[in-house]
């Protein structure tokens, strides 16, 4: 157990997953990853993260559903969520916000941009 914030990252594209995890690890966060919604939910329930970065379109459970489940559990209710979305329409982002997201990042995103948003979400 460290005092570094724990960030849960979920994306079905392993390159994107690695990229985000690598970036955030380099930035000094403790990072756990999942390649689908179910995995993400499981991880989150095993160990409640300080932040969840969820891809919207994932197999099994999509990002929105994961978010809803997290919001449904007492322990994970307060976890901030940042969605990663490839959807062009901004309404997708809006939907994410409604599902309880703190923020969203549209693919393609720059890692610098993501870094800033993660910091903001963690209140750092």
């Amino acid at each position: 157990v460290s005092d570094r914030p724990l960030v849960l990252v979920a994306d079905d594209d392993p390159d994107i997953l690695n990229l985000v995890m690598l970036r955030l690890e380099r930035d000094g966060y403790e990072v756990v990853g999942a390649s689908d919604g179910e995995g993400a939910l499981q991880q989150a329930l095993e160990r409640v993260p300080d932040l969840a970065v969820l891809d919207v379109s994932m197999p099994k459970l999509d990002g929105y559903e994961v978010a809803q489940r997290l919001r449904a559990h007492e322990g994970t209710r307060e976890v901030p969520i940042i969605f990663l979305t490839a959807r062009a329409q901004k309404s997708d982002g809006a939907r994410g916000l409604e599902a309880g997201a703190s923020d969203y990042v549209t693919k393609p995103f720059s890692t610098a941009d993501l870094r800033l948003r993660v910091q903001a979400a963690l209140g750092l």
Binding site: D13, L22, R23, R26, A88, P108
Partner: protein, 863 residues
Amino acid sequence: MYSAIALLLAGAAILWFARNGAESRSEQEVLERARTASALLAGRLQASDFQGPAQGDRRAQLDRVFAPLIDGEVVRVKLWGADGTIVYSNDPSVIGTRHSREEIKAVLAGATKSEIGHLNDEGGRGENIKVLSAYVPVRTDGSSPPVGVLELYTRFDEVSADAQTAVKPVAIALVLALLLLYASLFPILRQVTSALETRTHRLQQQSDELEKTIAERKRALAGLREADARYRALVEELPLVSYVSSLDKPGFSTFVSPQLEDLIGYTPLEWLAKPGIFWDVIHPDDAERVRREHELGYANADTFSTQYRMQAKSGRYIWVEDQIRVIENPQGEPMQAQGFLIDVTARKNSELALKESEARFRGLVGNIPGVVFRCDIDSDWTMEFLSEAIEDLVGYPSTDFIANRVRSFASVVHPEDRLRLETDVGKSVTDRRPYTTDYRVLHRDGSVRYVIERGQAILAADGRLRLDGAIFDVTERRQVDHERLKLAAIVESSDEAIMSADLEGRLTSWNKGAETMFGYTAEEVIGESIAMLAPEGQKEQPLDRLAGAIETGERRYEATRRRKDGTLIEISLTVSAVRDSAGEVIAVSAIAQDITERRQVENERERFTRELELQNERLLELDRLKDEFVALVSHELRTPLTSIRGYLELVLDGEAGNVTEEQRRFLGVVERNANRLLELVGDLLFLAQIEAGKLSLEVGAVDLAAVAAESVETARPLAEDKRITLTLATSPVPLLAGDGARLAQLLDNLVSNAIKFTPEGGRVDVRASASRGNAFVEVRDTGMGIPAEEQEHIFERFFRTSRATEQAIQGTGLGLAISKAIVHAHGGRITLASSEGEGATFRVTIPIRAIQPAEQTKEEIAS
């Protein structure tokens, strides 16, 4: 003394009478017997039997004929010829003897004769006994005059003896009794006789006087009776009913003559048996009037007459004339009414008929649609009669023309036609034939009317020749005829098929157009059913349509018809009902156009349209697939590009160790191209959304001037690279409802385009302003400009100007298409002003719309 002699004489007379009476009675019997024999023999005797004495066979025959007659009482028969010859007898010895002709002649003339004598007084054989003979005439035929005489001899003894023996003693006794009676009563008788004689004498005188008086009376009475009979006969033979009626009760007859039965079917007996019947049979409409007339007439003791109807027993009404005279007694007091009833039904009826016929004549003349006249045959046409309809024709009343009172009829005949009218009529009079002629008349109002006149010269009752005729106004008919001719000419010359049919669908007219269209001549189709024009299997259709047109007045439809040569044609038909003046449908007319070609063109067009629609659908489907494809591809491209860019960043940030200058340069090229690719993907995705109609704006309050300023600042490094002067001029623009990101994208596009197409050292000026509810942004450059022919395509996607291609200026050709879509999504417009080599100016106009509270909220959340 006289009486004693008279008594003796009477006794002698009785004796003589008694005897003679017996003889007389016998003679009668013999005569009767002879007549009977004569009648019996008439059929068996012949005229020739009386010409001369019977000989041989004939005599034998006659013997047989007469044999039954000789019965002992009758002892002999003789037939006498007209000349006094005995032609036959049962005693042959007397046949052929001739005696006095006078006796026979007398019998032949009708006298009968009988006498008492002896059998052989005129010869003959046998015992000469006393006989009674009777002569009677003999007829051989019932109606012919007697041809001879039959004499029958009977024994006298037998017949007379009975009578004599019976009568003689009685007669003698009677005579004696009378003598005795006379002798005893003589003295008394004498007194009585003398008294009686005196009395008788007086009575005789009175009687003579009476007789004289009675004779006179009888004569007078006979005279009266005769007069009465004559009167009655007269009265009863007159064709009238005479009656007598009491004065105090009019109509109550006391006498009525038998003709009453002929008049009204009641016998006088029936009539008189029902007092007051008169008032039952008189026509109710006449009763009151007749009662008044009678009362008045009686009161004035007048002679008067009246007419009324009486109902005969048969129920029929009879018009009678009643002529009444009040009879006065010798003292001059009215006594009774005497009247005659005459049947005037026929007269009345003829009067009524005359009246009716006059009225009918007037009515007829009045109703004739023309003018009826009778005139003299002179140059004025002097009118004796002219019906009132003339006023309609010429404007002057008919009275003007009668006897040329105001004007002559000739004066209203058109001057050019006067001579011809005279000629035509003159010819007709000469030929003694009716004429028909036409001419013009001048109306009072100056108009000219066309008339037809028909007439004939007739010999009038006064022996003069007159003209009887009628004039008909045909002006309108002429006009109608002219109209009809014109119409007929139009119909005939029309290229359209025009035809008509009766209500049963038989063709009644067929113009040239129809002949051309259907190939049948008028002669071939007139009278035929319109069904003949329909193709097989649709024969009943024309008749159905016809019925429809009759019902609704007019029908338009298209149909297939069969030409004479068998080819089918498409026609457009207008069928109209033809009505008479009363509005009744009397026929149907139709106009047809051949629309075969039009139909073909239409069919062609329809097929073409269908094909186009199909293609369109296919294209739309393709388009949709393309959009889906683009969206999918774009999405799938983004993820790998994100990785590419992310890992590049990591490398360039030195996360993977130091990067040499050369590595950094090469990786820079990779990053730049990755960005281009991303930009392209973004644009494609955006366009796909727009075209799919899925572009939605994130509406918020936008400060367009600020957005413009931001775009200018973003582009400044690029401008500086090319030493391009980039200026911004803004005046305050009110906040407007819009999508800030999209509007920024729009202005970025425009500004970066301007810099891209402006050569080094040029300038780009950006201005933002607002005016009258609109926000304006203008981006002007000093670039190469856009050729006029390319300007209209500049906003199309993937369009690149020729100059851009020539100079290899990078771009996807999507920027302006996206720009235009963003502007339109905001309800604005984008325009271009440019000429080649002189730069270009893009001008965006967006209406300033206040933001709605809901939109505001969303914006706030989004930010």
